[in-house]
Structures are given as C-alpha cells and as structure tokens.
C-alpha cells in the first residue's frame, strides 16, 4: 500500500518536471547580459577591424576585408611609428619609476606599521584629483621649461602616474622579504649593498617585475597626459587611436585598439603568474 503511493508520488513528480531546470533561467539571463556587456563592445571592435563598408542601419558590415590593416601597417603609415614611440616611452617610464620605487619601497617595506600604511595612503592623494586639470597645469609648466612636446615630458608624466602603484607594489614585495634573511647575509660578511643585491632584491623581484609591468601597461594606455604634454609632436598609440576615432575612421581606430590589447593581455598573464597572493596580502601590512 505504502509502496504503491510512493510510486504514484514519483510518477506525479516526473510529470511536473520540465526538460530543463527552471531555476537556472534567471542566472543564465544575468550571466548572458553581463557577458554581452563585457564582450559586446569587444565583438563590435573586432568586427570593425575587418569591415570594409559598414553604415547605418545595417547590423553587420556590408563588406569584409583587410585593406585597412594594410593601410595601418604600410611603410608610410603612422601606426608603426606610434607603436615604437609608445613602447619606447613605456620602457623609459618603467625604468624611471622602478628607479624611484625600489629605494622608496625598500625603505617603506622595512618601516613599521602604522607609519607605512599612512605614508602609502598619502601617496594615493594625488590620484584622488581629476586628471584633466592636473595635466593642463603640468602642460603649462612644461611649456615654460621646454618639456612640452618632448618624449622626456611624456615619460615624466607617465612616471608620476605609475609611481604610486609601483611604490605600493614594491613596498609589499620588500615587506614580504624577512629582514632576518638580510641580517643573515650581513652576518656572513656581506656589506649592506651586497646583502641587498644578493638576498633582498632577488626575493622581491617577482613583485618588482609585476610593478614594472603595471607601469608599462599604464603608460601604454595613458591618454590624457600624453595628449596635453605630448601632442601633436609625440604621437603615442592612444593619441593615434583618438585622432582616428574622432575623424570617424573606425577601422583604423579599432585596429590600433587591437594592437594595444596585445601587450595588455600578454602582460596580464605574466602578472598573474608573478604576483603571488602572499605579496599582495602584504600591501596593507
């Protein structure tokens, strides 16, 4: 009797069940929307890079091809030059900010809390101001000293921009290296610099590399400062992108954007490998 009713119940349950579980539906919709919000513009960008003709009201390009790629990468094209300028500036910005961030980060990393946290917070204050008025003022000052329109000027702007994060990450990396390891080297007869270069620096290197990559990517993408200080004499990739985009030249703008994406993605993977959780966790400590 009871076995029979259980069978009935199971049969009733089976009848009600749909081919898919309904409770998944809202999640699927939300995830789909998020994915569209993130990847939609990227898909649009990718389409533009291979569109020969595309105008309103057509949803998809009318004609596909690579003629704009040829145009961008032609020997007379500005893309190569801009790419080299951008990479050159980014490398100089990395060297400049690391040259400052390594000693600063080392000093801060060996400092005791809460002094360390407070100083790091103070470093963050300039970031709280809107970029635009800051760069306009820098540009005015650079005009006076003749740095406007020079690579050095743009590098300087990018160094100050990247320095905050470089110092933060370098501080965390140095703080993660136990001071006793350095003392052990001193005890074995190493001078202060030798101990630093043999022990502390190699152990902090992953974090410092991440910090360098961060500055590199920031510099590569930076627009506002480069626009006010560099343009039109110094043409970086974001400036090229802006000119192309503003001129309605979406193909060239999209291809340039794609170029900017390559180092970003590559270095993101490297950063992910090098920035270990234990280094990151030291930032606030």
């Amino acid at each position: 009797m009871s076995a029979l009713s259980m069978q009935d119940g199971r049969a009733a349950g089976k009848r009600l069940r749909l081919p898919f579980d309904l409770k998944w539906l809202p999640r699927a919709i939300v995830l789909g929307l998020v994915a569209f919000a993130i990847f939609g513009p990227l898909a649009n960008l990718l389409l533009w890079t291979v569109a020969e003709r595309w105008y309103f009201p057509h949803t998809l390009p009318l004609e596909y091809g690579f003629s704009y790629w040829a145009k961008v990468f032609s020997p007379r094209g500005v893309a190569w030059e801009s790419l080299f300028t951008s990479v050159f500036i980014a490398l100089l910005a990395v060297i400049g900010s690391l040259a400052l961030a390594i000693p600063a980060g080392y000093a801060l990393g060996r400092l005791k809390l809460p002094a360390r946290g407070l100083i790091l917070l103070v470093f963050l204050i300039p970031q709280a101001f809107p970029n635009l008025p800051v760069y306009v003022n820098i540009a005015r000052f650079f005009y006076d000293v003749g740095l406007n329109g020079t690579i050095a000027g743009v590098v300087l702007v990018h160094v100050t921009h990247g320095l905050v994060f470089a110092v933060w990450i370098a501080t965390a990396s140095f703080a993660a290296v136990d001071a006793e390891l350095e003392e052990a080297a001193r005890s074995m007869g190493a001078g202060p610099f030798r101990a630093f270069f043999d022990v502390t620096l190699p152990l902090a290197l992953p974090g410092l590399m991440a910090s360098g990559i961060f500055v590199f990517l920031e510099s590569l993408d930076e627009f506002t400062g480069a626009y006010f200080v560099g343009a039109p004499d110094v043409q970086t990739l974001p400036l090229l992108l802006y000119t192309a985009g503003a001129g309605g030249n979406y193909q060239i703008a999209s291809i340039t954007a794609l170029l900017l994406l390559i180092p970003s993605i590559f270095f993101m993977l490297v950063v992910e490998r090098f920035l270990r959780a234990d280094v990151l966790s030291r930032i606030g400590h």
């Binding site: 006793e180 001193r186 005890s187 074995m188 007869g189 190493a190 043999d198």
Partner: protein, 381 residues
C-alpha cells in the same frame, strides 16, 4: 673584568624607545668557551646576542673582540656568524650556495669553495642534498644548513639564537650533543641563547642567567645549579618549592626556629648570604626525602632532642600523588605551602609525612619584603 678576555661586553645599555632592555651589562668570554645565555622570554638574552652581532647599537658601553673595539663596527665587519632561530636560509639559493655564500664574499677561488662546502656538508650529514633548495629540506636539515653556513666562514665567535627551539624533541637531543662536539673539535667560541635550562646545562661551559636585562648569576652549570645566589636563579634552576621559615644567624650557622610545620635545625651558612629574620627556603622535588610520620616518630623519641644538624625537617600531609615516570611525585601540604616531592614509592594521600631536605640541597634566602626584591614565581621552561 680582565683585559685578556677574548670578547668583552662592558657596561652596555641597550633600549628600544623608552624602555631599557639591557641595563649596564658586562660580560667577558674566553676564546674557545661555550657560553649559554639563559633566561625567560623578555629578559634581554636575544637583545644581548644581537648587540654582540652588531644588529643592535648600544646607547652606551663598549664591546671588544680580541682587543679590537667593535662597539660601532658593522655586523659584517665583526667576523662573527649568527645562526637564527628561524634559520633565515635564503630560499632562492641551493644548500651549497647557502653554505658557500660567506666564502664567495671572501673571494675564495671556486674550487676551494666547492671543497669546503663538500667538507661541511659531509660533516653535518648533508651530503647529497647540496643541490636542493631549503624548501625541500626537513626542519633538522635546515637547521644543519644554517649551522653549516655559519661554520663555513670560520667565525671568531659563533652566535646561536635558540637554534634548536624549532626542532622536535627527539632531534633536538641529538643536535645538542652534535653542536657541542663540533664546537669542541673546532675550538670555536660560541654564545648560545636559550630558554631551556637543560639545553644550556648540557651544552655550555658557562651559564649566564639573565633577568630583566641584568646578569642574575653566571658560572659553570653545576655551580649555578647547586649554588643559586638568588631566589630567581633558584626558581629557574628548578627549585620551585617554597617554604617560609624563621631563622637566626649565629656566626657561620643559621638556626631555623621551630615552627608549626618544621623542626628546629642548624644549617651551616656555607657562603649563603643571609640575615636573621624571615627566611625563604627553596628546594627541588627530588632533593627531599619523604618518610611517613609514623616511621620517624619512633626514631625521634630515641634522640633526646629533635634538632637536625645540616638538614631541615618539614612536617606535612600528602595531598595528591602522580606518576610522571621514574618516581612518584607527591604534592605535600606543609602549613599553607604546597610542595612537590619525589619518592620511590607512593604514599597514600592523607598520610602525615616528614620531609628531610639536606643542607646541600636547601637554598635559603632572606624572605621578600625584607628589603630584598619580591621574587616572581616562574616556571623554568
């Protein structure tokens, strides 16, 4: 202090911020001596070691090594090598690179470094592990690498900062003897910081007991153990049983006045610094002889006077027994005090007993509150 001392610490004051960690501390160490700095945590023993190593700068006082003033010398200019409690091995270097680092700094030729590293690795039982990174070693192996790294540079003074505290008990016992044997064989001067009394006793030629940044007592292990100069040292050396008595000093003897829980006794002063008045008596659990009161009562009646020569007799009641191994431990109530006493056979709780403490194992001090400083009760770890 003799000027002939190999390493001399003179009137050194070290402090962090407002508080003084080492207070006018002086210590001299002979060449080839193994000295243990013993004390509970916070007594300044590690600070003293780090001051000798050059990581702490004294506010005043001086340090000399073999006649050379090293008070302001950098840590790398002292020819000392320190073994850290955490071992502080460099994780990015192999065992061989760790051990050979000091030699590399000394610009020794490559083949000489390799030979020395091989020799040290063989001596410390690390042969075959030279290419491993520290992360791939066991605790005991890491400790050996840290020791080997310090020995490789042939330091004038080897500084050991609780190097055994991170090892498990069984390994620790072996390493104690190994380090001691090695130190003797190589004739190195060594300073060993520890909070483990037994470790200090087994390893050191001389024990220096530190308390609140000052030397409480120093001497050979048996001297410190058998002749503690203060209640603090007595407690640190395991004499944690305390009984309050009254005493009258006469010439070179002290008469312990009969009390509710002790008999009258005459104890030779024998170098004890004591004055008449309340007396704090301390002894170790194994020092006292425990006898049921019924057994002694008969013999006492034979002696006309119940007065003990060179031994103190206490009267009490057994409260609790336990068997920690080897012998039975009794908790005995002697008046208001509770003392621990070892005996080969168990005596039932509730039994009245007498405790006989021979004068040689009885430590007498002026009771605290009589001008002397109060003594913190502490457990010798």
């Amino acid at each position: 202090m003799t000027s002939a001392a190999f390493l001399a610490v003179s009137d050194v004051i070290v402090g962090y911020g407002g508080n003084t960690v080492l207070d006018r501390l002086s210590l001299s160490i002979e060449r080839g001596e193994f000295v243990a700095l013993l004390g509970s945590s916070g007594c300044g023993k590690t600070t003293l070691l780090r001051t000798i190593a050059g990581f702490n700068r004294p506010q005043s006082g001086s340090l000399t090594l073999a006649g050379r003033d090293i008070t302001l010398a950098a840590p790398d200019k002292r020819n000392m090598a320190m073994v850290f409690q955490s071992y502080a091995l460099w994780p990015h270097m192999t065992v061989a690179q760790n051990i050979g680092y000091g030699l590399k700094l000394a610009r020794k030729p490559r083949h000489e470094i390799d030979a020395r590293v091989e020799e040290i690795a063989g001596m410390l039982g690390l042969a075959g592990l030279e290419d491993r990174k520290p992360a791939a070693l066991s605790g005991g192996q890491r400790q050996r690498v840290a020791l080997g790294r310090a020995l490789a540079v042939e330091p004038d003074v080897l500084l050991l900062d609780e190097p055994l505290s991170n090892l498990d008990a069984r390994v620790r016992l072996n390493v104690r003897h190994e380090i001691r044997a090695l130190q003797k064989r190589l004739g190195i001067t060594a300073i060993h910081v520890t909070h483990d009394r037994e470790e200090a006793m087994v390893m050191a030629d001389r024990i220096v007991i530190l308390d609140k940044g000052m030397i409480a007592q120093q001497g050979a292990p048996h001297e410190v153990f058998n002749r503690p100069m203060s209640p603090f040292v007595a407690a640190f050396m395991g004499a944690e049983n305390i009984v309050d008595l009254a005493g009258v000093v006469e010439g070179n003897r002290v008469e312990i006045v009969e009390g509710p829980s002790n008999r009258r006794a005459m104890i030779g002063l024998d170098g004890r610094r004591l004055s008449s008045g309340r007396v704090e008596a301390r002894f170790r659990p194994e020092a006292a002889e425990l006898v049921p009161a019924s057994a002694t009562a008969a013999s006492d009646r034979n002696g006309a006077e119940s007065r003990d020569e060179d031994a103190l007799t206490l009267l009490g009641t057994v409260e609790q027994t336990s068997y920690p191994g080897g012998c039975w431990r009794h908790v005995v109530a002697v008046g208001a005090a509770k003392v621990a006493v070892d005996a080969p056979t168990a005596i039932e709780p509730g039994t009245p007993v007498t405790l006989r403490v021979p004068a040689a194992a009885l430590f007498l001090f002026d009771a605290p509150g009589r001008g002397a400083e109060p003594v913190p009760r502490l457990v010798a770890a």
